[in-house]
Symmetry: C3
Amino acid sequence: MITLYGTTVSIDEMTVVLDWMGIIVFATTGALVASRKEMDVVGFALLATVTGVGGGTLRDLLLGLTPVFWVANPTYLIVCLCVACFLFFTAHIPASRLRLLLWLDGIGLAIFAVTGAERALAADVAPVVAVAMGTITATFGGIIRDILGGRNTHHTQSRGLRYSSSLSGRHVRWIHSLRSCTRNCHRERVCCRSRNT
Amino acid sequence: MITLYGTTVSIDEMTVVLDWMGIIVFATTGALVASRKEMDVVGFALLATVTGVGGGTLRDLLLGLTPVFWVANPTYLIVCLCVACFLFFTAHIPASRLRLLLWLDGIGLAIFAVTGAERALAADVAPVVAVAMGTITATFGGIIRDILGGRNTHHTQSRGLRYSSSLSGRHVRWIHSLRSCTRNCHRERVCCRSRNT
Amino acid sequence: MITLYGTTVSIDEMTVVLDWMGIIVFATTGALVASRKEMDVVGFALLATVTGVGGGTLRDLLLGLTPVFWVANPTYLIVCLCVACFLFFTAHIPASRLRLLLWLDGIGLAIFAVTGAERALAADVAPVVAVAMGTITATFGGIIRDILGGRNTHHTQSRGLRYSSSLSGRHVRWIHSLRSCTRNCHRERVCCRSRNT
């Protein structure tokens, strides 16, 4: 439980909200790349969907959580397609699509590094695997987007890898300290109770 | 049940027959690309197999139907290898390999868009996911073939995506109307029976 | 059971030892490619890990053995990262990194072709699928390494495919003859016993 602006939210609820934000942000970057390449609406739909759900799909496949999340819950697909349609008509409006793209890419990376690691921890894997999963979730969607969109992004991806792995690492360490803290509190309470009785 | 030229076939039987046809057609296109690139027999075998079973493999992985179909039933692999061997000796005969390739690609796309969506519906997923699966089954084999064969097919693939997604969509809508029709018939019959008794 | 230099080892034990050797050798080739491309330490870690565990990951996904081996046992990841760190400081020492790379690639290919086929046979698949799995395990890590490292290795990979598939084929044939031999011995012994009693 985390108290945020006076309301208490569980980590699970926060993960779900962040996950949706990450998917929308990444779907937007995919559609922006499609717009920069002047693709048709099918290209927008493809790139938005692949970028939005690509990283999470690979994570679910590797963790053995099949059917993958967007097959179990098709709302993810529909949201990505809506983002693609919306961007198809509005992508030409921002003054610099590249700057918007880089900003959104960074935001999506930060969100997915945390939620990817969180999902892996929820599946009871070792910390180092959780860090790897956070990194994969955050970077893989962007890598496929750049391969399909024909962008050369060796440089960007390397920086993305570095940031997302460090973020996932911090998150895993934080969750671990939170958990051991909870466990200690629990143990103390049990001790106190047994002492009192 | 569908009545075709006087004989009654179930949808499952038709799916199996169409699936085999699709695999043979796509394996042929893979071997034709290998022939155009003047590869050796290993290249033929690789491209024919990857193109023939690639789309279905990704579909099975995403749906969680593991082990994937060609691991469970190795006949698929053997057929792809036979097609590769056959084409290795005969691929130079047709006057225009490129025209044959484009025709077969279109036929394979149409077949796999339908059978892919059908298999997804058989695994009880939402209609929009079934459309996505039909599209993936139809286009993914060709995308890998073009990456491995070094063909630049941005244009073709985009058209392939458009056709296969619309075909899958129509098939899913048709199956849905068929099902709801069957359900209504069944309900009416039950009503009649309950009224009669 | 195989008797080797006077000590008896089971095929399972040999597979585990060979698998570790293959992963270390392939992680080294990944790090060497990163070194040739003058990447930073993140690039070393990425290429070493992907090359070391990539082929086995695809094999496990296709066979439906999820979570994949390095998620279940994170020691694999840690070893790959250690190899990457070690190579980051020592990769400039050998006189010719390319020659070392080609040698190690060949050794890794030979090891993984055998252990990949062995693992597939242990999962009770048909012989032709086991050969395909050996080939996939041996070549896929190298293919991803070359795509991410930007190396053009059409030629090398085709040769790798040919060698690894022939090696897997031989191994599967050998294991099959070993098994049928064991079965015959067992049958004979049972016959003898039933004759004696």
